[in-house]
Point group: C2
Chain length 380, copies 2
């Protein structure tokens, strides 16, 4: 069953659920949203909502540190509706109660890592927007916050960098105030951030917050289906990030406005095969499916120097499949053995140099099954 | 994992596997084809095959009777690649060793039920073509066969009538000769029949032979993924067949040559949601997904008088979803209770009369999890 996120126009609150913990989606059997807050994602169901002032919660910590994982979106035939989180790489947020910050506001006091180009204006920074959105949901009016963003992800790499910052910030604020919101609310806060910073799409923010694979079934209302890859099965992602700035506008412009019926049917069946492979833990089938896109990859691939050769090298080295991560330039290959993953990564790095004249870095990562989380806290 | 059907050009045989029984696909973990025979579906792997004359098997029965179930193909966003079998409705074949028939040939001695329009020439009859194809695979040269086809399915109804006849015939021949072939071979035989009679598509023949839900991943090579709906979950199909001959040519012509990218992404995500719903036994999600097609149903629906009103009536009566079965005119709705299914069927029949001025018959059927099978036999 899916999570359906009601998105009323007006700020509203259901008092019966305010103390519920966040439920991180453990499986396809799932979670009902009990709190819904209003940024205008949809007019659906807005008329049925009542407007109640939310009681402002007290902070339960003086500071918290959170982490949110990188994500691989698109996944070949899963273009624009499927993403997953990868373990051990992502962004951190350290958030504290700060009497020097105007109540109800958040200040970004520092950005480390690959974040030089990011604005410290919270209204222009993905972490700031998500934090403010959660503060608004919680009706925080008496407390000011400051945060430090540690970028563990390179910008514009196709690994969901903005989503990881937003996810970490949303979780940090929620944890600081005693975890009053649902995971669904945090996704909505993150989606508000993504909309302003990188476009209205949930296929990075949802897996970064929820972990695992997430299928975006609809946006109006926002409805998400967590797809559980079986715990007992191994899955490794080989992420190869070349030193190359993907031409975002060209990447977007490369998308066709229309697709042929035969390509539509093909990609649709591969998307079905991909979902089946995820749910049954068939990493070989998963690789094959994500490698089979006939619509987006053939158009975007040529914009990444050497991409075709790197994909060939990955498959030759034993990868089950390979495609572009997000909008690139990172490429993602999959396998079921870590050591094999390292070999595949080496061959891909060599091929990037040989075929595309690009330096590249390879990482082998597991599926992240948890999503954004608290990593430390200081009680009041 | 998927079944991959190697399809060499030449007739060939692997003697090590000739005595293996058919394995009916029990789950997504599956079956490797060990026998592959050549009708030219693909040139893939043909060079690696050796050509060995198959030893002609003896019949182990003097006669057999087989059954193959009706199928619902397309399933909304599963257009052209997803189908399932429904229980308790289908075609029967009675097949016997017949010394009056020329060795290596099959004769159709009778057709009962809704089969008046069908040819008794085995080369023009779907059951005859499938039977001959299996006889060719088995290298039957010394025995002639005759068959009686009992049509339990109306022709041109969108319930996979031709596929059920072909499936029953293929299974009957294989059983008569001691079950030497794999399920995959029988699908190939059925596909040869479908290609000649109703078009090159496997989304009826594969589920009619294999049972359950089957995803057609590719045709070259033919690769099928059985999708197991959990045994402990209930799923009922409400099949409502109006007295109306669907205009096949118009139905085909109604398909667009191209689809918009946004509709493509929508249908793709719904196809993913449909597969997830099947594998997790989420009948509500399954209904919702099959009801969500934005590409084919909006174009074909208006060619079935009253279709829109009937769908609305189904949903109003509590169906989880409703769409066109195959190319119509039968409509299929889903629910998880038999009694509820009967109510839904009644409302749909009423709506067909009110909105489309068509008489209609409703049936409530379970998922068929077995596929085509032997129902009786007479030993030699």
């Amino acid at each position: 069953m899916a999570i359906t996120f009601q998105s009323p126009i007006k700020h509203n609150f259901n008092p019966s659920s305010s103390s519920s913990p966040i439920s991180y989606a453990p499986s396809l059997y799932l979670i009902k949203t009990r709190l819904s807050f209003g940024f205008n994602l949809s007019s659906v169901s807005s008329k049925t909502q009542t407007h109640i002032t939310i009681p402002e919660p007290e902070p339960v910590f003086t500071s918290v540190k959170s982490f949110a994982p990188a994500t691989v979106a698109n996944l070949g035939p899963g273009f624009d509706f499927l993403g997953c989180a990868v373990d051990g790489i992502g962004d951190f947020i350290t958030l504290q109660v700060d009497p020097d910050v105007k109540p109800g506001q958040v200040s970004i006091s520092g950005i480390s890592g690959d974040g030089n180009r990011l604005s410290k204006d919270p209204l222009s920074n993905c972490a700031g927007i998500a934090a403010l959105s959660v503060m608004k949901m919680l009706n925080i009016q008496s407390i000011g916050l400051s945060m430090i963003l540690e970028k563990g992800l390179p910008l514009g790499s196709g690994l969901g960098s903005s989503a990881a910052s937003a996810a970490a910030a949303a979780v940090a604020v929620n944890e600081l105030f005693g975890r009053k919101l649902e995971v669904s609310d945090l996704v909505l806060a993150g989606l508000e951030s993504e909309t302003k910073v990188s476009g209205y799409h949930a296929d990075n923010i949802a897996p970064s917050i929820m972990g695992g694979f997430v299928l975006i079934r609809s946006y109006d209302p926002l409805e998400l289906i967590p797809l559980k890859f079986p715990y007992e099965k191994d899955l490794f992602f080989v992420l190869v990030n070349p030193k190359f700035e993907a031409p975002t506008k060209k990447m977007r412009a490369a998308l066709p406005l229309e697709v042929t019926m035969s390509h539509h049917i093909w990609n649709c069946s591969q998307a079905g095969a991909l979902v089946a492979a995820i749910l049954t833990g068939d990493s070989r089938g998963l690789g094959k499916a994500l490698s089979s896109d006939k619509i987006v990859e053939p158009r975007r691939g040529p914009l990444i120097p050497g991409m075709e050769g790197v994909k060939k090298a990955a498959l030759k080295a034993g990868a089950f499949g390979c495609t572009i991560s997000g909008a690139g330039p990172t490429l993602v290959a999959v396998t079921d053995e870590e050591e094999k993953g390292r070999e595949i990564g080496e061959r891909m790095v060599e091929a990037f140099m040989k075929e595309g004249k690009l330096k590249a870095l390879a990482m082998v990562k597991k599926l992240d099954r948890v999503g954004a989380r608290l990593v430390s806290s200081n009680p009041r």
